[in-house]
């Protein structure tokens, strides 16, 4: 079966629409962030742990931490896309606080926004390209930064 990337398919709205998934993501990311902040081991990237090669999302947690502390240069060093994921996380957390009717409207609004702008799908594609650039042309500094810290 051949699948195509449909850029106007809502991705974030699909996540927001599943309340149980949103709750699980919020709790898991909260626990992961808290563990890292305390210096404990968090959820390790399977690709990096097994092969030493960072995945496209490696560095996002540390970039998020740096962003929360206002260290923008450090954030950019670890991962340029951290603000996008922070916004997505905030939207997921906000959607959980809404009553059912407002939640439906909120998810609908996000889905419309995604269909019109294709922002989430384009961001994911750009993120993979960003990862390839770092891996192919900036390999040494990228791997050292992610693996050694």
């Amino acid at each position: 079966m051949r699948q195509q990337i449909k850029l106007d398919t809502p991705i974030l709205a699909a996540l927001l629409g599943e309340r149980k998934m949103s709750v699980a993501i919020t709790l898991a990311l909260g626990a992961h962030g808290a563990a890292l902040a305390l210096g404990w081991p968090g959820f390790d990237c399977p690709l990096r742990a097994a092969t030493g090669v960072p995945c496209p999302g490696c560095g996002l947690s540390r970039a998020g931490q740096a962003m929360l502390q206002g260290q923008w240069a450090t954030m950019a060093q670890y991962h340029l896309f951290a603000p996008f994921f922070a916004i997505a996380f905030i939207l997921i957390a906000v959607s959980l606080t809404l009553p059912a009717r407002l939640h439906g409207q909120f998810v609908g609004a996000v889905a419309r926004f995604e269909r019109q702008t294709r922002l989430v799908a384009i961001t994911l594609i750009l993120l993979v390209m960003y990862w390839l650039v770092r891996l192919l042309w900036l390999r040494e500094s990228f791997v050292n930064l992610i693996v050694s810290s």
């Binding site: 079966m1 991705i11 993501i25 399977p46 496209p56 996002l60």
Partner: protein, 89 residues
Amino acid sequence: MDTILSLLNVLLSLGSLACAIMVVIKLFQEKGVAHGILGVICGLYTFIWGWMNANRLNIRNLMLIWTAIFVLNLIVGVSIGAFTASFGP
């Protein structure tokens, strides 16, 4: 001791990667390319999605194995850290 723990760590990491790949393949098949890419980017999302759909997709055993590997890997990682702190690298 340190070598044994490191070897165990590598084996568990390979097992974790194998489980992650199997769940990501399911994710691509079930939810399409975009969610599949999201699964590759965020292993935690793949892990959660796998557990939430474990019964429907009949991957409960796979998720149990992945979870066990994750917990064991955490224990081994902490043990390596403690061993290195006590006896040096």
